[in-house]
Each structure stands twice: as structure tokens, then as C-alpha cells.
Point group: C2
Chain length 261, copies 2
């Protein structure tokens, strides 16, 4: 069962389709077709994945085993309501969309959510990426698990509510964190200082939580109750009302977390 | 000059004194004395650094070349106003305190600020840590540069204003980031999900900015203008007013940053 190879169609040709498609191809599955409204992206990806192309859901190849909808969230339901796939398995790859939006397409539906941030240019080792699986029935679940295990050592079965919670937590840990780096970079650049100076610190901040709870690793003026430094920092941010607001709210939130611990 | 070895006294016996002291000892400087009001910490550190101890600034050894005040910020001025060191060099290690608070102690004053987050238990490679140097005169500056270069390959001369700016940026990139990890962990734990599931994502978020500006690496619902997901996340946080506030403010800040770019 673990060696079973599948025939797959991708709907969508963005970052998720690209990285997931490459990982599946590497594990000897066949990507039959890439379907994308934008002709140029599907051409590019189809070449990478050695597959046919289609620019319309009406022309979809019906011979595949699994249809992976890796479009933006708004398009998933539209695709599901239009596609004809004779009860084949269809999944989407979104962290925040209900599995059930697929139910007009087939009784055999699921979610195949790789918990990672993908950039077009950057290669990625899929074996360590958690793949979160959800399915409408046992048969579909087994197929999706086999597919996921062929590319990742970290396959997890969760329901839609858990997936949405994970996606929310990921926004804090990834999107918001990156934005704080952006603010730090902007503060430094405005003062003719290079962002590079912070990189050893950022690396160590992340090393620390590899084996420790971040709640126990908190440092800085807020958790120390160092109100002089807090005041001094707020003074430095007086001309940057937006950053000042972020500074005040996160400092308050750290102080509150400390009290609750 | 680069091989010159110094005799050093530490005032303070916390994390900075410990890690800096160990790095200086490894580079063949002599730690003459550790002075700390808390007898137990100074004993422990003096043993590590093969030095004498003192529990009062009045008993300070006056034979050293450099006095490093690595206490908490509030104590630095008190130490400087009391210590008698015959015009020897005295520095503090703080990111946010003016160099001039030391001026009662000596005409030869400076700052020796290692830009890193230190934990008691965790060993650290000092060679990559940026050491920010400031001095009241050229002679002192030369000594501090020699000292800093003996333990780090990343020595930078900056003034007090620049140092305070760096410290502020470090709060965003380190303290606030760690707090976002704490929030993510808390959201997951409350839903019986392990924080470990986010670790590959956190690692990749940080890999991305190693060679790219974080401003260009922003992903997520806010920067995509995906208002449905934003609304759904806010719904999930309705029982967590504090996290909801952080979510809304950082989302708004990301949207604003995008407009300015």
C-alpha cells in the first residue's frame, strides 16, 4: 500500500501546486494534468511536472485518481461546483476552508494541507513538512495517508476545526513574526543601520524554542518590569505612531502573560 | 596589539557576566574578580571564571585594567557613583543606558554591548555575536576594540543613540517574536494540539530572511487582502480578547506596510 503510485491532476499552478507537485513527482506519482486559468503559469508548471495542461475545468482529464485543488481560497468552491470527475477523490490544500465546500464535486473529498510557507524560488525539503489530512470516508482517508506518507514523515489526521486553529496559530508564528522583522528592519534602515546586525539574535531566539516552551524563554524589558526602558523606547517611537501602538500592545500582552503563568 | 591580554573585574554575576566572562577567559584574559551583592551568584561565577569574589563595590580590586558593569540597568549608575578605580577603564553592557552615567567613576568610560539574548544554561558561540562599542576617548576605544576583537569577529563602533535604536529593533525581532510564539503555543495547547507542529514553519520563516528583506517575504491573509480568512480568524479568537486585539493590530499594520511599499 505504501508503494502505491497515483495519477494526479492539479487545479491551480501557484506556489503550493509547484512545490507539492514536484514532491509528488519525485516520489514517482504521475501528474497527469495541470489546470489553470492563467495559461502562462500552467505551461510553466506543466513543463516542470511533465504533464499536460488545460486552461478550463471543463477540459479536465477524468482518468486520474486524485484531483488537488491548490487555488486561492475563493476559487476552491467555484472549482468544486463546476468540475466533473465521476466520484474520484478531490481535495483542497487550504488551511482555512471547510472540507465540505467540495461536496458537489464527489462523495470522496478531503483536505491535504501542508503546513509550510512556500516561495516560488526557494526549494524545500518536503519530508519534514507536517501534512494535515482530513477525509469524508475511510477509503479516501487511506488513499490520502498513503499519498502524504510518500512525501512526508510527518502526516497528521485532524478535523476542519483543528486545521483552522493550526492555521490561526501559524499566522502568529509566521506572518506576524515576519512583520515584526519588517518593523525592526525599517527602524534600523531609518537610522542608517544594517538589518544584518540582528541576524545572530534572531537565530538564537529561534534556537532557544527548539527544545523549550517559548513561554519560559521570554526576555526583555516588559517581562523584567523595566519601565524606564519601556518609556525610553516609547519616546524613540513618538514619530512612528503605528509602531508605537504595536510596541505598547505587545508589551502589555507580555506583562499579562507573565501574570497568568 | 591584537594579542594584548587584560586583567578584568566583573560587577554583576548574571547571564551577560557569565557568558561574556567565559568568552574572555577562553581568549586568555584574566578575570581578577567577580563582584556581586548576591553572594551565591558571585561564588558560582567566580568558580567558573577562576577569579576572586567580592560582595561589595568598596572591596573592589584596583589592580585590573577594565571594569565591566554587567548588572541590571538600574544598578549601573549606583555602581558608577560608588566605585573607586583610579582612572581605569569602566564600561557597562546595556543596550539602553547612556554611556555618560559612568562619568563619576572615571574619565575613561565606554559601552561594551553584546547584541544577543543569553540564557543561563545555554552555551553560546561568541565569535558571531555583534559587539557594539562606544568610548569616551580614543585610548579607551582602542582598548575596547582589542578586547572585543579577541572574542568576536563582528565588532561595531556606534554612538549611544544608535545603540538605543538597535536595542529597540531587537525588542521587536526577539522579545516580541518570542511572545508571538507563546501566543501560538497557547492557542494550540488550548485545542489539544502540539506546538511542535509549527516548528518546520518557524524554521522556514527564519531561513527566508537569511538572504532576503523580510518586507519582501511577507505572506498570509493580510498581505493577500483575504478578508474572509481575517474574519474567520477573528471569530476563532472571540473568547480571547487580548489575542484578538494583537491579531487585529498586526493585521492592520501589515496592510499598511504593504501600501507604503
Amino acid at each position: 500500500m505504501a508503494d502505491k503510485k497515483y495519477k494526479i491532476v492539479f487545479i491551480g499552478a501557484g506556489n503550493v501546486a509547484t512545490h507539492l507537485g514536484l514532491a509528488l513527482l519525485k516520489s514517482k506519482h504521475t501528474i497527469v494534468q495541470v489546470c489553470s486559468l492563467r495559461n502562462s503559469s500552467s505551461k510553466e508548471l506543466a513543463k516542470l511536472l511533465k504533464s499536460k495542461i488545460s486552461t478550463s475545468v471543463e477540459d479536465i482529464d477524468t482518468s486520474a485518481d486524485i484531483y488537488i485543488v491548490a487555488t486561492n481560497d475563493d476559487t476552491i468552491t467555484k472549482v468544486a461546483n463546476k468540475i466533473k470527475i465521476n466520484n474520484k477523490i478531490i481535495v483542497h490544500t487550504s488551511g482555512s476552508i471547510d472540507m465540505n465546500v467540495l461536496q458537489k464535486a464527489s462523495p470522496n473529498i478531503g483536505v491535504f494541507y501542508p503546513l509550510q510557507t512556500f516561495s516560488k524560488q526557494k526549494k524545500i525539503d518536503f519530508s519534514k513538512i507536517p501534512v494535515c489530512i482530513e477525509a469524508s470516508n475511510n477509503k479516501t482517508s487511506k488513499v490520502l495517508k498513503t499519498l502524504a506518507k510518500s512525501i512526508s514523515n510527518n502526516v497528521i489526521e485532524i478535523d476542519s476545526k483543528q486545521r483552522k486553529t493550526i492555521h490561526l496559530a501559524a499566522v502568529f508564528a509566521n506572518n506576524f513574526t515576519n512583520h515584526l522583522y519588517t518593523i525592526a528592519e525599517d527602524i534600523l534602515i531609518k537610522n542608517d543601520l544594517p538589518f544584518d546586525i540582528l541576524k545572530p539574535l534572531i537565530e538564537e531566539t529561534n534556537n532557544k524554542i527548539r527544545n523549550n516552551s517559548p513561554a519560559k524563554m521570554q526576555t526583555g524589558p516588559s517581562v523584567r518590569g523595566d519601565s524606564k526602558t519601556l518609556k525610553a523606547h516609547e519616546q524613540l517611537l513618538l514619530n512612528d505612531k503605528d509602531y508605537l501602538q504595536v510596541y505598547k500592545l505587545l508589551s502589555k500582552s507580555i506583562i499579562k502573560s507573565k501574570k497568568n503563568n
